[in-house]
């Protein structure tokens, strides 16, 4: 049988993972990428922000050196360009890694902009100016998303910016107004505050990181306050005005005005569905402009699949990668469906957040009978020893079956710790199973064990209620 040829538009975490899986299964793969392999995640999202956060955490620890019995004589200062350079190095190593994986698996990389001509052809306008036509048996659209730019914000790439530009700032602003207290807004708030800026966040909804469990949001809001990051909730920005001296004034929906040096807009992502041939081929789009797909990642056009941010849904890198694997395996003759029930996520604020499964509010809205267990990090010897006592673990179970429905953690290493909950959910485990599993002492994971015990009112390290 002739080798299957697969064309993938986009080499982000969706596209490049789909490419490698397909190649592993014997396909001849061509990936078309118009910016850089690794996509948003590697170049403008997950990785660079975590590199900056590592620098911010180092600054924070140094500022708290006295707490740990360390006296610093003389001045400690940081070098912004070196921080950005380090971030660039971290990204570059990863980019090299993906390119070398492509070579290893014999995946062809066409660097340019692709447009689907028909179900078997994609025209590519290469970066060097020439054109090439890629032919294949199947196509996967994995073109991703970009920061949403609403017209009310006078973007100039310098003072009114998105996360893309924020990752490459050349000087620390005296003040910054962040629009949107979602994941991106909150992560940048902590980074910029640590770098010395005065930070104000304006959020339309009633909570920061409103997609998280409400108690987790409340704790994060307190942590923002502790660091003197001003958070204004339930408020929209009506307009941004430029003053004569180059200053910016934001007018809020409650009439208040905020003067600021820079505005960072992080209100969401716009999908990259323009000019890739979707309309011409009659590929169906949904209400928010997302490409509609079924559980097998198939679009309405036979042979064409779509994955990642461009299909809307849960816009996370690891979800895109899983969708990429599902699409690749289906194309190569397997039969797989995507399952979105267990998707852990991490937010790299200070402290971190890790969550998986149902939020308490969601469970209540569904009319479910649930039990909840909680344990504060400050109840752990390890947290005190580390000097990181803020946070808590919260576990939710079905009241009748005791099965784990959700685990929400805020505190040091939360994004790593949460996976205990993900595995428990995957195995249909009960909260009692977690409580009855020995957890090493002294570790932060004990918070999960104690929260599990607390669900049954048996936590050893909590006073009698």
């Amino acid at each position: 049988m002739a080798e299957k040829r697969l064309i993938i538009l986009g080499a982000g975490p969706g596209g490049y993972v789909a490419a490698i899986r397909a190649a592993q299964l014997g396909a001849k793969v061509t990936v078309i990428e118009d910016t850089e392999v690794g996509g948003t995640c590697l170049n403008r999202g997950c990785i660079p922000t975590k590199a900056l956060i590592a620098s911010a955490e180092a600054i924070d620890k140094i500022n708290r050196a006295e707490e740990y019995g360390i006296d610093i004589k003389g001045e400690v200062s940081f070098n912004l360009s070196k921080i950005i350079e380090r971030k660039n190095k971290v990204v570059a190593i990863q980019v090299k890694g993906i390119r070398s994986l492509f070579k290893s698996w014999g995946i062809e990389l066409l660097e340019g902009r692709g447009k689907i001509k028909d179900v078997n052809k994609v025209d590519v306008a290469l970066k060097d100016g020439s054109n090439k036509t890629a032919e294949g048996d199947n196509i996967i659209i994995a073109t991703g998303s970009r920061p949403a730019r609403l017209p009310i914000f006078p973007f100039d790439g310098k003072d009114v910016i998105t996360s893309d530009e924020a990752l490459n700032i050349t000087e620390i602003p005296k003040s910054v107004l962040i629009v949107g207290a979602g994941v991106i807004g909150c992560e940048f708030a902590f980074i910029l505050k640590e770098l010395g800026a005065e930070v104000t966040i304006v959020e339309m909804l009633s909570h920061a990181v409103a997609t998280e469990d409400e108690e987790i949001s409340e704790i994060l809001e307190r942590e923002l306050k502790k660091r003197k990051i001003k958070l204004i909730l339930n408020t929209k920005i009506e307009k941004i005005e430029r003053g004569s001296e180059g200053s910016l004034t934001a007018v809020l929906s409650d009439g208040k005005q905020i003067k600021t040096e820079k505005v960072l807009v992080s209100i969401g992502r716009a999908l990259n569905t323009e000019n890739i041939g979707i309309e011409e081929l009659g590929i169906k789009k949904g209400k928010k402009g997302e490409i509609e797909v079924n559980n097998r990642m198939e679009t309405n056009v036979k042979g064409i699949y779509a994955i990642g941010d461009v299909v809307g849904g849960i816009m996370l890198a690891h979800v895109a990668s899983t969708e990429g694997i599902v699409a690749a395996e289906n194309i190569m003759g397997h039969s797989r469906e995507i399952d979105y029930n267990i998707v852990p996520a991490g937010i790299f604020t200070m402290p971190e957040i890790g969550s998986v499964g149902l939020r308490e509010k969601q469970a209540n809205e569904k009319g479910m009978d649930i039990k909840v267990g909680r344990f504060q990090f400050r109840g752990l010897g390890k947290a005190h020893a580390m000097g990181e006592i803020a946070g808590m673990a919260k576990i939710i179970a079905d009241a009748k079956t005791d099965k784990v429905l959700g685990l929400h953690i805020i505190g040091a290493h939360a994004a790593d710790l949460v996976h205990e909950g993900a595995v428990a959910m995957k195995l249909g485990a009960k909260v009692k199973d977690i409580a009855n599993t020995i957890h090493a002492h002294p570790t932060l994971s004990e918070a999960i064990m104690e929260a599990s015990e607390d669900l049954h009112k048996m936590a050893i390290h909590l006073p009698k209620p």
Binding site: R222, K225, K226, Q376, R378, G379, H384, I389, A390
Partner: protein
């Protein structure tokens, strides 16, 4: 035991009443149970608060706990010193460790609060 010029709420907050204004804080029993206080989330001036509702969160090395409003009204002043030095509450919970001043919306609520003797008795029962 507990200061004579104050009124007390079962959730271990006190109120010093002067006309329509109530200065509030947490009691000695509360600060002792909490241990070393490391952070106090001060309420914002102009916030409307309800009696029996939480108006701020206090964090110690042992626990986090809401501060319950002993009376309803509007916050007209907060003790800013506590944001830099929350441990003042441990050192002097009834004077220097005052938390906020509430302009009462219903002075009748004072009658629902406990007298010093009754509060002390209540704490003794709790501690058993």
């Amino acid at each position: 035991m507990s200061p004579n010029d104050l009124k007390y709420h079962k959730e271990h907050t006190w109120a010093r009443i002067k006309g329509k204004k109530a200065t509030i804080g947490i009691t000695h029993y509360a600060q002792e149970s909490l241990g070393d206080i490391v952070y106090l989330e001060l309420p914002e001036v102009d916030t409307e608060v309800d009696k029996d509702a939480g108006i701020a969160e206090i964090e110690s090395t042992k626990a986090t706990s809401p501060i319950i409003a002993p009376v309803s009204g509007k916050i007209i002043e907060v003790n800013e010193e506590l944001s830099e030095s929350p441990e003042i509450i441990n050192e002097d919970p009834y004077e220097k460790g005052w938390i906020a001043v509430i302009e009462m919306s219903n002075t009748k609520e004072i009658e629902e609060l406990l007298d010093p003797k009754d509060y002390d008795k209540y704490v003794e029962e709790e501690a058993k």
